[in-house]
Amino acid sequence: MILVFLLLIPFLAGVVSFLAKDAAKNVALFGSLCSLAVSAYVAIFCGTEQVPSISIPWMPTIGAQFSLSADGLTAMLCLLTGIIFPVTLLINRNKNIENPAAYYGLIMLSQVGLMGVFLAADALLFYFFWELALIPVYFLSSLWGGERRIAVTFKFFVYTFVGSLMMLAALIYLSMQTNGVNAMSWDNIIAAGKALPLMQQHIIFWLLFVAFAIKMPIFPFHTWQPDAYEQAPTQVTIILSALMVKMGIYAVLRWLIPVLPEATAFWADLVMTLAIFGIVYASLLAMVQTNIKRLVAYSSIAHMGLMCAAAFANTDLSNHGLLVQMFNHGINITAMWVIVNMVEQRYGTQDLKKMGGLANTAPAIAIALVIISFANIALPLTNGFIGEFMLFTGIFQSASQYHIIFMVVAGLGIILGAVYTLSMVQKVAYGENNSGVATVAKMNGAEWVAVIILVAFIIVLGVFPQPLLDLVLL
């Protein structure tokens, strides 16, 4: 029953936000804090003896149930969602937004979709929430985004929607292979997938994989992403990059690898090659970006590539590391966007050439930027290191005959990562102030809270990662 609250709270908060007019941002913040409390409760107290789940008939004729379940992976992602939303709502509190009621209402609705995707234990329900998460983000980006928002968001929507349809077709086909009772439930889908002849497994594999690869995004399906990150309002970018891309990885772990084990093993080398090539490719592109949001976007593609490769390496260690890294990447990328948002507001530009001197004008922001940047390039004793170390070790131990090459080429990412991240730090924080903005505002109260929470996660989980390592294994 508790799992229903995870959906109900953001839904109610969203509805109330729509009606609340100017108080919407406070309603949303309050709602997100409540859902944080529930997800923390689920993560910490539930599941020690038995995985919490609920299931009620929904559309029995096609075998769909309203069925939720929360194992360690789900609990961790719900907790991450619970943490990210209040932090996201803390920034930009001073900025005047047109029609705040709709804006915050949509943000909360996207949380419903995200939570639902992670919780759903039924294929149709999963698809339903998958789309539900997409729609608010579409409206948020196309109404409140940057100059090129219409074209960019349209492309983003069509691209991911095409993927969704492919996924829907595959899931329906799988459900048709079962005996009809609760045909859409996760267990039945898995049984159906495993029983498929190999040729059909291959086709279903590609339908599902392309859908998830677009979402993650994996090279060469990634081109919607830098544009979308650049044009969306930063709060929406956070939701996209910290949480929605995790839907892709989550879906691979939940709805692809266990469902089609033989096809997965067959295509693993190819997928890992794409993912790892994508790491180097995205890192190289990040080096030459002059727009700070695009730079962070490409850096995120590189990180997702590593995670995807680890998912398909499919060793105990890479899977465990992947779960850890999903959480840590969510924290780090959010922290990065929080800083980018502050910098953009203060300098009034996204152009790296017109920044500089932050260490002089606003040292606290610069220090936070440096800490977060080093977490982003996985310096030991930050949370980024734990996940990446486990991922690299896991990939190295994978059964693939190319395992050493995979690891070493993926490792080039840590060198290139240092290059583009430190270049960004240099251009933003050091040197002279090139922005023409004379006075740079210090961090305000809400921003301090957001930054301190995130930096605390970065350092505490970097030094004592074990609680997180244990949580995801439940």
Binding site: L284, M287, L317, N360, P380, F389, F396, V408, I415, V419
Partner: protein, 618 residues
């Protein structure tokens, strides 16, 4: 642990902290750590070693990485060097940095550095070492770019970090290989397995692991081809150059390999590779140092060259000799850097030796201590550098005459460039402006005290490792052999050893004389030919830019503009366009004429029948 406390207090209170208090607090923490290190030193002297297990850092399935420390002879010696030299440099910094606005931040970074360095040498497994390894890299980055307004300085910081990262990838791959083949990263278990031959692991595996770790060491210890960051790192404050880029951090690579001596002993190939890289580094860096005119650059290349000597010793299987040279080098190189800091301080920031000269009269203490440093590094008995360098030369000779000849050549160049530096700086006539001449003064006591202390150490520290011909007892070897396993050294007979010593010392004296003659009437005309190549550091930086950096940036730009936007994204948009085009065509079919609809229906039905017929029959 005390430096961490110092870092936290200074780091968190960086705005409110009074300036003097920061330096005092940081130095005090270092003194306490030094006291503790001494205590530890006496505890492990009898060969004891202790492992302290704090908590499990990462545990996943079979992978277990504890947060544990191990103290034995090797780490305790490094502890002494780090905290001892570190303390002196902290004291020096309180005076050198006293009017810098970021002084509190400076001491916070410095403490953080020492903390990371201690983690590095105290860790009980490679992951903990890696934590310290990256931690010192971070501090080095922060301190090189300490004066962050200067773009060149922040570039140097970035370069240092990135070059180190290249090495780190090697380290990481090495760790993966060890985990893959041995299933553990803790020193005790790993070396136990190797020595007990519990695992059947092929020689080539050992070689790969050894080379991967050595690539890590190349980055951190500035060996060919990753050395170019170290001279640029001189952009940081001079005490930082002394502590990080001469005495401690750059020797981390030596520590790592000495720690893994058991592993390296299994790979002849890796050792040979190390010896060759070390020798080439020693020669090339020394040749560059001859023609540099920036006082800190000369010392920087000298550091690179001395590190090359240490790796040469390692390549000959003489790990304790390398550690010996680490120790003596830490003393005399820190001394030289602090001396140069004293000079720069007196010259009001000038670093070019072409506008110095005759400083000895105004700065007697700096002059004498600097001279001691030069004599020590040049290798004249009874100063420290003689003993350690002589041991390296003897090891090289025992290994191969070619290594010996190369090393001797590098040693002679060392004597030449150091004394060129010394004479140009301290004797002759002053060549700077009048204003500078007026400003010349001896440095305050907080700066001269560390100089004197280091000068004493640079004089006497060689006696812990007397050569076999003088004394049967090599106390350093005995102390270290509980932690480090030397490869069975071929002992030279006494007459050969005497001869080698005599040869090197007399040649060094000749070089000093040449240096003196050359600098009596200095001539700074533009260099030509080989000298110009040396002055421009063999054009290595230019080569890297031309071969790696620029093509990479151009290639990335090309990928961004063409592949990404036109190729992949163009393809995606193209699919959209085709769909639209197709839809436009399809729309024409729905023209509202019932006849056309009927016609296409009939065609469709016929087609279905035909296809069905085929399917049934075949």
């Amino acid at each position: 642990m005390f430096p961490l406390l110092g870092f936290l207090v200074n780091g968190l209170g960086w705005k409110t902290m009074p300036k003097q208090a920061a330096g005092f607090l940081a130095s005090l923490m270092m003194l306490v750590s030094f006291g503790l290190s001494l205590a530890i030193f006496f505890e492990v002297k009898g060969g004891a070693s202790e492992t302290i297990h704090l908590f499990n850092f990462i545990q996943s399935g079979k992978l277990l990485i504890p947060f544990a420390f191990k103290i034995d002879a090797l780490s305790s010696l490094f502890l002494l060097i780090i905290t001892g030299v570190g303390f002196l440099i902290h004291v020096y910094s309180t005076s050198y940095m006293h009017d810098d606005e970021g002084v509190v931040k400076y001491f916070a970074y410095l403490n953080l550095f020492v903390f990371s360095m201690l983690i590095l040498v105290m860790g009980a497994n490679y992951v903990i070492m890696f934590i310290g390894w990256e931690g010192v890299g971070l501090c080095s980055y922060l301190l090189i770019g300490f004066w962050f307004k200067n773009r060149d300085f922040t570039n140097a910081a970035k370069k240092a970090f990135v070059m180190n990262r290249i090495g780190d990838l090697g380290f990481l791959v090495g760790m993966m290989l060890v985990l893959y083949h041995f299933g553990t990263l803790s020193y005790g278990e790993l070396f136990g397995q190797i020595q007990g031959n519990e695992m059947i692991v092929s020689n080539s595996t050992y070689t790969w692991i050894a080379i991967c770790f050595f690539i890590g060491a190349m980055g951190k210890s500035a060996q060919l081809p990753l050395y170019t960051w170290l001279p640029d790192a001189m952009a940081g404050p001079t005490p930082v150059s002394a502590l990080i880029h001469a005495a401690t951090m750059v020797t981390a690579g030596i520590y790592m390999i000495a720690r893994s001596s058991v592993l390296y002993n299994h790979s002849e190939v890796a050792l040979q590779f190390i010896a060759i890289v070390g020798l080439l580094t020693a020669i090339i860096a020394a040749s560059i140092a001859i023609k540099q005119n920036d006082i800190k650059k000369v010392l920087a290349y000298s550091t690179v060259s001395q590190l090359g000597f240490m790796f040469l010793a390692i390549g000959c299987g003489a790990y304790t000799t390398a550690v010996f040279h680490v120790m003596t080098h830490a003393f005399f190189k820190a001394l030289l850097f602090l001396g140069s800091g004293s000079v720069i301080h007196a010259m009001g920031g000038e670093q070019d030796i072409r506008s110095m000269g005759g400083l000895g009269k105004k700065m007697p203490i700096t002059k004498i201590t600097f001279l001691i440093g030069c004599v020590a590094i040049a290798g004249i008995p009874p100063f420290a550098g003689f003993f350690s360098k002589d041991e390296i030369l003897a090891a090289a000779f025992a290994h191969s005459p070619i290594l010996y000849a190369g090393a001797l050549g590098a040693a002679l160049m060392t004597a030449f460039y150091m004394f060129r530096l010394y004479f140009l700086t301290f004797s002759g006539k002053f060549r700077g402006t009048h204003e500078q001449e007026h400003h010349l003064h001896e440095s305050p006591a907080a700066m001269t005290f560390p100089l004197i202390a280091l000068a004493i150490l640079a004089t006497v520290s060689g006696f812990v490792g007397l050569p076999a011909v003088i004394s049967e007892q090599h106390s350093l070897n005995e102390f270290l052999n509980t932690a480090v396993t030397n490869l069975g050294a071929h002992h030279l007979d006494h007459s050969t050893e005497w001869m080698l010593m005599g040869l090197s010392v007399s040649l060094v004296l000749v070089m000093i004389f040449i240096a003196y003659n050359r600098t009596k009437s200095p001539n700074f005309a533009a260099n030509t030919g080989l000298a110009k190549v040396l002055e421009n550091k063999w054009y290595v930086d230019e080569l890297y830019d031309a071969v790696i950096v620029n093509p990479l940036v151009k290639f990335s730009g090309f990928m961004d503009k063409i592949i990404e936007r036109k190729g992949i994204d163009g393809g995606v948009n193209g699919v959209g366009k085709i769909v639209r085009w197709g839809a436009d065509r399809m729309r024409l079919l729905q023209n509202g004429q019932v006849g056309a609809y009927l016609f296409s229906m009939v065609v469709g039905i016929v087609l279905i029948f035909v296809i069905g017929l085929f399917l049934v029959n075949f």
